[in-house]
Amino acid sequence: MKIPLERSYAILIATLAIWVASLTLILIPTIGLTTPVYPPRPSYAYQLTLLVVTAAIASAFSMYLGIKHLFPDGLKIRERLRSLTDKKNINASRNSTKD
């Protein structure tokens, strides 16, 4: 499935924003901005889940866009493998001709 580039950026920015928000919520008692809470409220577990989910989405889209920028024509793994196989076949046939 191909996702348009503009939409990928929009998803990346949105998930990064939620990720930063959940990270801030988790960290503010630790850095002393709010009163420490003990034992942690149940909402703390939800914040952690949100952090992990948004991190996974943001990381995946960021990686996707990074690779897209570095290799605009795609990785073309199949074509590269095919050309490698072709080269091997050519070399093999050359060697057999010499023999």
């Binding site: 420490p36 003990y38 942690p40 952690l48 952090l51 990381s59 960021s62 990074g66």
Partner: protein, 166 residues
């Protein structure tokens, strides 16, 4: 360049999230947790001459007011105070009186003494916060310096730990 930056962002997001998740998971599973570390330096309190006694309250040193502040989400959370007052060998006496400045329920009143830490008894275990809510504590310090050969900086550290029975 933009591609490398995006890949770097991707790896950073994963790294930071993994670290925070691991630390936060420890917090959730722990039954005892450090909630504060309080450092009292004589440079903050003012110099003392040899043999001089002095008392500090929040009226003179505002930072001593609400020195500990904790919100409990269930009843019967126990606070433990661990200090290193026993290492203050240059002081003839050093005591920290911990007083309630905000309470929940009717067991304690504002101004009651929760505990006293001294050189001979630097730790206290434990005060029972018997109702859920926000609790605050003031510090009052009384100290007498001993005989010294030169200016001696001194630092007292108090670690506050919370423990639940759940």
């Amino acid at each position: 360049m933009a591609g490398l930056l995006l890949i770097l962002i991707s790896l950073s997001v994963v790294g930071v999230s993994a670290f925070v998740y691991q630390q936060a998971s420890l917090t959730i599973t722990q039954t005892i947790k450090e909630v504060a570390t309080i450092t009292l330096k004589n440079s903050d309190l003012g110099d003392l001459k040899e043999g001089e006694s002095k008392a500090y309250t929040k009226a003179g040193v505002p930072n001593l007011g609400d020195a500990i502040s904790i919100t409990t989400t269930e009843a019967n959370v126990y606070l433990h105070l661990d200090s290193d007052l026993d290492s203050l060998t240059t002081h003839a006496s050093y005591s920290i009186t911990v007083k309630f400045s905000a309470v929940v329920g009717t067991t304690y009143s504002v101004g009651d003494t929760a505990c006293t830490l001294t050189i001979a008894s630097p730790d206290y275990s434990s005060m029972d916060l018997d109702a859920a809510g926000t609790w605050k504590f003031d510090f009052e310090i009384t100290t007498t310096t001993g005989s010294v050969d030169s200016d001696v900086p001194s630092t007292a550290t108090v670690i506050v730990l919370a423990e639940s029975t759940a």
